[in-house]
């Protein structure tokens, strides 16, 4: 694809109660852009988690972030130890960033 930059895409799922902690961590890793989708439910090692249950609310959030390959290892190094406490999951994949919008990676 023309006019694209090879990058890494992180996809992180954690409980909303840990979102602030993750955002601090991302700031420390000098990440300059990320997207957060709230109100996610899911299933994992801690069983079902569901934000719709009136009494037993457990909300997951999905955080997506794209960064340059060079930065990816740095982010990963910060993230990996933290993820132990955060639970959830973190996936990394390859992607192409389409040039055009203001640089935020």
């Amino acid at each position: 694809m023309n006019n694209t930059i090879a990058m890494k895409r992180f996809e992180i799922v954690i409980g909303i109660e840990q979102l602030e902690q993750l955002m601090d961590l991302l700031e420390r890793s000098e990440v300059r852009g990320y997207t957060v989708i709230k109100n996610a439910s899911g299933y994992g090692s801690r069983g079902a988690r569901n934000p719709d249950d009136v009494f037993l609310t457990d909300e997951n959030v999905v955080v997506i972030l794209a960064c340059k390959n060079e930065q990816a290892q740095k982010v990963l190094n910060e993230l990996r130890p933290a993820m132990k406490g955060l639970g959830g999951m973190c996936l990394i994949s390859d992607c192409q960033w389409v040039e055009g919008p203001a640089v935020s990676y």
Partner: protein, 318 residues
């Protein structure tokens, strides 16, 4: 015999909607808004009528009844642990739920008295607000004492208990109601917090019916012991409450409300607190018993029985 109040029929229709799989759904925002309203309104009403008492006269009685509420989890725990064979965590967590209270059950009790034009002490609502504290603390100690594993997060738990929505809104209602009563400015606020109370309760009970029918299914799968406990234990606790109310010289209505408080159990504050304090307890168990069994039992069968209990205590002496 007392006639069934129209307002509890809303609960029946909520359950029925669940049973016939109607697509009826109460928006979550409405449910939350109504519960905020109810807590403030219950507090406000109590606060207004507390303005008629000397606050210093009331505190020792109210305080005693709050402290004595710790007896409820202390009684429930051995039953659950040794008769019911529950784990320490579950037995402790369920005890905390039953020691704690349900503001909606209390509201149904208040509505019952209103339909009968019976007086009750306004400061019962203060007792309700504060009863959470000893119940949740005692339940946590029972669940944790001697158990190894993760350390109890006491700091986080106490913050949750003391700043939790239910307690906060109830106390806020009490304070504002008390002040409004004292400066004689209840008037424009009562159009909302008093006149609409029963109508809001109706909506809320509809949603509670929907929720209870879902919960009952879950708890039914957990066996007959927990269901029996959910019916018999409230009777025991109510009897203790009615006895105390009579002992402390409450009115018949007040005695009945204390019985209701002792019999009722929590499905909002306690689950939230127990998840922090006893994360290894199964929330489906305590919530199922509380919401699926005890709540419906109390509002339909319990409340009239507790009225008779109060009546009985008050008749033996005179």
């Amino acid at each position: 015999m007392a006639t069934i109040q129209p307002v509890v029929l809303f609960f029946v229709f909520g359950v029925l909607a669940g049973v016939i799989k109607s697509d009826l759904k109460i928006p979550e925002a409405l449910y939350k808004s109504l519960s905020i309203f109810l807590l403030i309104a219950i507090g406000f009403k109590g606060g207004v009528s507390m303005a008629k008492y000397e606050i210093m006269e009331v505190l020792p009685i109210a305080g005693s009844m709050v402290v004595l509420a710790a007896m409820i989890p202390l009684t429930a725990y051995p039953i659950l642990r040794f008769l019911g064979k529950f784990t320490q965590a579950d037995a402790g967590a369920i005890s905390a739920h039953y020691g704690s209270v349900s503001a909606v059950t209390f509201a149904v009790g208040v509505a019952f008295l209103a339909a009968k034009d019976e007086y009750s002490e306004g400061y019962m609502v203060l007792i309700m607000a504060l009863m959470e504290i000893p119940a949740l603390v005692t339940g946590t100690i029972l669940a944790r004492a001697g158990a190894g594993g993760q350390k109890t997060q006491w700091g986080k738990l106490m913050h949750e208990i003391l700043t939790g929505t239910s307690l906060y809104l109830l106390l806020m209602g009490v304070v504002i109601g008390y002040y409004a009563g004292a400066v004689n400015l209840v008037s424009p606020l009562d159009k909302m917090f008093m006149d609409l109370f029963m109508g809001v309760l109706a909506f809320f009970l509809l949603e509670m019916g929907l929720l209870a029918s879902a919960r009952l299914k879950v708890v039914a799968a957990k066996g007959v012991f927990i269901i029996s406990f959910g019916i018999l234990f409230p009777l025991l606790a109510a009897f203790f409450g009615a006895y105390l109310g009579w002992l402390f010289g409450l009115s018949e209505g007040g005695t009945m409300l204390l019985a209701v408080l002792y019999a009722s159990c929590s499905y909002i504050a306690a689950p939230a607190a127990m998840r922090i304090a006893v994360p290894d307890a199964d929330p489906a168990l305590s919530l199922g018993a509380s919401l699926g069994v005890t709540f419906p039992f109390n509002i339909f069968i319990g409340v009239p029985i507790y009225w008779e209990m109060s009546h009985w205590f008050h008749s033996i002496v005179v």
